[in-house]
């Protein structure tokens, strides 16, 4: 709409407004990512230097990183996080796409009721059910196991809901060809629907992986065995042991933040686009 001559401003005024606009945006952006820059900066500083007000470390050192990695089993924590997040993501996408397909495409009695029941859990988040969930998982003997961390994290209505919406938007003709070929429902799902859902599955995979990598509350609650700690629990515990050693703590924070930031750098368009459309369409 700004391509057309504005009725209010002359051309030079419009350019000026745009310049001011861009400057404001740029300054805000710098302010917003400042804490992240600061974190990275401190992680390269020595202990005496940690509170000096310069962004660039006077004598950059890798010492904090090597200390953190050798003193604390951070590699183990990272491996645990990776295993848990990847497993949850794969299993969740598999189950959710099956359920989403059935709820969008297959006709069976009680379908609306099942959808309504699933929808009703959409806004119930983990914190509010943590106490009874812990008791159930304890009763199932899954405390301090990988299964205990992974299984309850798989199920959430959000993924089913989005996939169902997506399948509703697919044209029916696509399946009809397969039906005429005599393919069963499993075959339609596996070789027609799944390949068609690649874009949304990719977007959801990134979101699920990020959410599980960053998850703290459930892993903290269900696993007290240090060998099962994910990286978020590890770093929170690290804080209570090294509370004054900010240079170590920021180095540890940087290590924990790097995988998600790298994911973001690679997939920023997909991540941001999938959030932009989630829940609204």
């Amino acid at each position: 709409m700004t391509k057309k001559p504005s009725l209010y401003f002359s051309a030079s005024q419009v350019t000026l407004v745009r310049l001011v606009w861009m400057t404001v945006a740029a300054i805000l952006a710098l302010m917003i990512i400042f804490p992240l820059l600061w974190m990275t900066s401190i992680s390269f500083k020595t202990a005496q230097d940690a509170f000096s007000p310069t962004l660039l470390p006077a004598a950059p050192t890798f010492g904090n990183f090597t200390y953190v990695i050798t003193e604390v089993p951070f590699v183990r924590y990272m491996a645990n996080s990776l295993f848990v997040s990847a497993t949850v993501t794969v299993v969740a996408l598999f189950f959710h796409s099956m359920a989403g397909y059935a709820l969008a495409r297959l006709r069976f009695p009680g379908r609306e009721l099942i959808f309504l029941a699933i929808f009703s859990t959409l806004l119930v988040s983990l914190p509010v059910i943590i106490v009874p969930l812990f008791i159930i998982v304890r009763a199932m003997g899954m405390l301090n196991t990988y299964a205990g961390i992974i299984v309850p994290s798989v199920f959430n209505a959000f993924g089913i809901f989005l996939l169902r919406q997506y399948y509703l938007s697919l044209p029916r003709e696509i399946e009809e060809a397969a039906v005429i070929d005599g393919a069963g429902y499993w075959r339609i799902y596996w070789s027609v629907i799944l390949p068609l859902s690649k874009p949304i599955l990719a977007a959801l995979a990134i979101l699920f992986f990020l959410a599980n990598w960053n998850a703290f509350l459930w892993p903290l609650t269900v696993a007290s065995d240090q060998n099962l700690w994910v990286v978020q629990v590890g770093i929170a515990n690290f804080k209570s042991e090294y509370s004054a050693a900010w240079n170590y703590m920021m180095a540890a924070s940087t290590i924990v933040a790097i995988p998600t930031l790298v994911l973001f750098l690679i997939f920023q368009r997909q991540i941001m686009d999938s959030i932009k459309t989630s829940g609204l369409k």
Binding site: M1, K4, L7, A25, L28, I32, I33, P35, M39, F51, P53, F95, H96, A99, Y101, A102, L106, R107, F108, P109, I118, F119, T121, L123, V124, P127, V128, I129, I130, V131, P132, F134, I135, V151, P152, F155, N156, F161, V179, A183, G184, Y185, W186, W213, F216, Q232, A236, W246, M249, S253, V256, A257, T260, L261, L263, F264, Q268, M272, S278, G279
Partner: protein, 333 residues
């Protein structure tokens, strides 16, 4: 329709297919033989539907539905550290009514939500309007606005705690340079909750910016063109076009942020790491208090009773949303 349909998903389908021979491995690459089975294709669709929904439905039932129900039941029991249960009726709820810390936590939760929701709305929409036009520069700025949301809340809390360390933290020093010296942003009960809210906003506003950008995208450009032709300035356009047409998005944002604020989805991690509910319980939101009661003192029954209040209020909110959106459709038609 071949009976492989159902049997591929779960062997149970085979039983219904009757005379059908076993197909061996679940997914064979061989072309399915077109055979009429004994059950009608309609019933096959039913069975397939149930089997496809089964894994998720079962999982949601056990790990979400059951806990929701259990929080109501468990609240009627007293549970000791060894896992023995004793029925106490409404005693936990009675205890809640007279528990000063419960009311304090309820108050803090309400305050947190009342501050967070409008702030997120304004900041999210403000950022979205700032970078609304799609071009390279704005794409870059958007990524920077959104970057904090990529970091785990534990790290977010650690980094911010470092920024606001008394006397020597960067932000504390900035504050004293601006004339607010001697302020303890996390140590002073008057400020700690504001700090937690600020950190939550910093973490969440990029996310809501994206939701708003999605909503702004859906407003047809011709409305703005027509309004400009009629002589509407930028503020009139915002007030008479953007805001009304953004109603579905606004509704979604307010709903989601309210639920997250009440449940403490972000607040728990931030508060647990930064303040553990202190100082003087000034940042003790309900979920933090519940967690301490359950996993600190082993008072699972009492904690469940308090959780049930949260569950019920969230169910009411969800029901309201479902009614207002006619089944989760966030648009007009």
């Amino acid at each position: 329709m071949s009976s492989r349909t159902a049997n591929a998903a779960q062997p149970r389908g085979e039983a219904f297919a009757g005379s059908e021979p076993l197909h061996g491995p679940m997914i064979t690459t061989a072309k399915p033989k077109f055979k009429r089975s004994r059950i009608s294709s309609r019933h096959q669709e039913w069975i397939a539907g149930y089997l496809f929904v089964l894994p998720d439905a079962l999982g949601l039932l056990v790990f979400l539905g059951l806990p929701m129900l259990l929080s109501l039941v468990l609240g009627l029991y007293e549970v000791d550290g060894f896992g023995s249960y004793r029925f106490v009726g409404m005693a936990n709820y009675a205890k809640m009514m007279s528990d000063r810390l419960f009311w304090q936590s309820a108050k803090v939760t309400a305050l947190y939500a009342v501050m967070l929701v409008p702030l997120l709305y304004v900041c999210g929409l403000g950022l979205a309007l700032l970078v609304q036009k799609t071009n390279r520069f704005n794409g870059f700025i958007r990524s920077m606005f959104f970057a904090p949301h990529m970091i785990s809340l534990v790290v977010v809390a650690l980094v911010w705690q470092f920024l606001v360390v008394d006397k020597i933290g960067v932000l504390t020093r900035l504050a004293s340079a601006l004339g607010f010296s001697g302020i303890s942003l996390l140590g002073d009960p008057d400020f700690a909750l504001f700090t937690v809210v600020a950190v939550s906003v910093w973490f969440l506003m990029g996310y809501y910016m994206l939701i708003f950008l999605g909503g702004l995208q859906d407003i047809p450009a011709m409305y703005y063109e027509a309004a400009t032709m009629d002589g509407a300035g930028p503020f009139a356009r915002f007030w008479y076009i953007t805001l009304p047409l953004l109603k579905p998005t606004s509704f979604f944002v307010i709903m989601i942020s309210m639920v997250a604020a009440v449940a403490g989805s972000q607040a728990f991690d931030i508060i647990w790491v930064m303040t553990s509910g202190g100082p003087a319980n000034s940042t003790s939101v309900l979920i933090v208090y519940i967690y301490q009661q359950a996993f600190g003192f082993g008072a699972f029954g009492y904690a469940a009773a308090m959780s049930s209040i949260l569950v019920i209020s969230l169910m009411v909110l969800t029901g309201l949303m479902f009614l207002l959106t006619r089944g989760g459709r966030f648009n007009y038609d």
